[in-house]
């Protein structure tokens, strides 16, 4: 059964349907949004399709190896133009169409005014094990 990673972005995606930035939402709008996300995950737990999920902080920086015995090189915080992942959910479903359907449901989480956010989500197939029989 294929796994897919659904990626939610703070920025870098295309413009959502309901384009009011999160910092202008009311407390109750945020509550409704978070409740929707929790219920969505619970629904996938119940259907046996949930693998894992996490929300990511906006903070972060680039890091890389800089040679033997040297400390890691860092570069940050991220530039304002960087595509920034806000969170991810790993699902295990029967088909690509099912993954698209679920991503669409997740994108319908309410935003300002309780209207569906309609944000763009990235759907990325996870590599599968190599099949035994190929010829």
């Amino acid at each position: 059964m294929p796994k897919y990673l659904l990626l939610k972005h703070y920025r870098g995606g295309k413009t959502p349907l309901n384009d009011v930035p999160g910092d202008q939402w009311t407390a109750s709008e945020w509550e409704a949004h978070v409740a929707y996300m929790d219920e969505f995950a619970d629904r996938l737990r119940d259907s046996g399709e949930f693998v894992a999920s996490a929300a990511l902080a906006m903070d972060g920086e680039w890091v890389r190896y800089d040679g033997e015995g040297r400390p890691p090189v860092t570069d940050g915080p991220f530039a304002e133009t960087k595509d920034l992942v806000a969170g991810w959910m790993l699902i295990d479903v029967d088909s690509y169409d099912r993954a698209l359907g679920l991503a669409s449901d997740l994108s319908a989480a309410p935003g300002a005014g309780g209207r569906p956010l309609g944000e763009w989500l990235e759907v990325r197939p996870v590599m599968e094990p190599a099949p035994t029989m190929t010829e």
């Binding site: 737990r45 046996g48 590599m127 010829e135």
Partner: protein, 400 residues
């Protein structure tokens, strides 16, 4: 029945435990429990057996499991209270035409592969109720949380709860589930390929169908090459480059014998035909000595049986070996270019035809479309090899 291949490298495994699970489910259902209740109770007994048996092996393992499962059922009834008591009463009333009368477990295979189930649910339920694996083991084998797998199995059971045990799915769906189990497993602690072989072998003892033998033959012939299929670091080794000395001749002999007996009965099906192709590869002392014209003929049969573009793509590659790469490319030209492994087949045939300028980017394209990491790396290496790049390590090289 296949015990020699089922428990390799699994220290947690109690010999004889898993084979008994379907029989114990069968026994409880014959006592009047619903499949759902019986299967839950046997799972509880199984989990208990894994804990207890290593220190305290039972004298009568089947009796132990039946008793433990019955107790688990009663405990469940008590803890569920009045609601479940009503269900118990109806469970103990024999369901009209529902309870299997013979002491076999064939109906379990059919029920677990019921067409109302999604493939992944059917595979999971088969592994638990027929294969005798615990939910945790199945979850680990498919890299999902145990709670997720428990839900998937529970929902699958709810879905088929109302299905009469006398009218389950067809043998085709059972074979499809076993095929998926064999072909699409991860290689974790639970050896799903070996498990698929064990369950298919058990099935051949219960049902006399040429396609069941054909599928078992197909599995054995591919399993025989397992050691040769991966090189250092999990690298894929294509058939033509495999060390044939690593092939398991005992499994090959068994597979060919099964296949010959099935084919003699003149009831062809896709698994027998696939096995025939695998057998021709197994028969060849070297890649050069492969009987490609005969393989192409079997692919013609397989195309007629399946109408699948994946099969047509494989046939084009075989045709390229039998009649030259131009013939293979001509056959490929008639196939939908989005077919899985089309780009890899195209790259290979172009390389054989000497069109290296086309083959190298085609390998890179095939790598981009690969659905497994091992295939992607293999195809990237082919692209790099054709471009004459020395060494390997700049992973971006092949994907540009």
């Amino acid at each position: 029945m296949g015990r020699e291949v089922s428990h390799e490298g699994d220290p947690m495994e109690e010999p004889g435990l898993r084979e008994r699970v379907p029989h114990v489910v069968n026994t409880l259902v014959r006592r009047g429990l619903s499949f759902v209740a019986a299967e839950d109770a046997v799972q509880a007994a199984l989990v208990r057996a894994v804990e207890v048996w290593p220190q305290d092996p039972p004298g009568n393992p089947t009796g132990w499991l039946v008793t433990a499962a019955w107790r688990a059922f009663l405990d469940q009834v008590r803890s569920d209270g009045a609601r479940a008591l009503r269900e118990e009463r109806s469970a103990v009333e024999p369901q009209p035409g529902a309870a299997p009368s013979r002491d076999d477990t064939l109906w379990l295979y059919f029920l677990c592969a019921h067409p109302a189930l999604t493939p992944s649910s059917a595979v999971a339920l088969t592994l638990r109720a027929v294969g005798g694996l615990t939910t945790r083991q199945i979850a680990e084998a498919y890299l999902v949380p145990e709670a997720t797998m428990a839900q998937r199995i529970s929902r699958a059971k709810q879905r088929i709860a109302g299905v009469g045990l006398d009218r389950p799915g067809t043998v085709t769906t059972v074979l499809r589930v076993l095929y998926l189990l064999f072909n699409e497993g991860y290689s974790g602690d639970i050896d799903l390929a070996a498990e698929a072989i064990r369950l298919t072998r058990q099935l051949t003892a219960q049902i006399d169908e040429t396609e069941v033998s054909g599928l078992l033959a197909l599995m054995l012939l591919h399993h025989a090459r397992r050691e040769a299929r991966t090189g250092t670091g999990g690298r894929l080794v294509p058939l033509s480059e495999q060390d044939r000395g690593l092939w398991d001749t005992r499994l090959i002999a068994e597979g060919i014998d099964l296949l010959q007996k099935a084919l003699a009965r003149e009831r062809r099906g896709e698994y027998q035909v696939q096995a025939a192709i695998a057998a021709l590869h197994a028969d060849a002392p070297s890649a050069e000595e492969t009987d490609w014209p005969q393989i192409v003929e079997w692919y013609d049969d397989l195309v007629a049986l399946t109408g699948s573009d994946v099969v047509r793509t494989n046939r084009a590659v075989a045709l390229g070996e039998a009649e030259g790469p131009r013939a293979g490319l001509a056959a490929l030209a008639a196939i939908d270019g989005t077919t899985p492994r089309y780009a890899a087949a195209s790259a290979y045939l172009h390389e054989r035809a000497g069109d290296l300028d086309i083959a190298a980017p085609a390998y890179a394209e095939a790598a981009r479309r690969a659905t497994s990491e091992a295939e992607r790396v293999h195809l990237e290496r082919q692209a790099v090899r054709l471009r004459g790049v020395q060494g390997w390590g700049r992973s971006g090289e092949g994907s540009t």
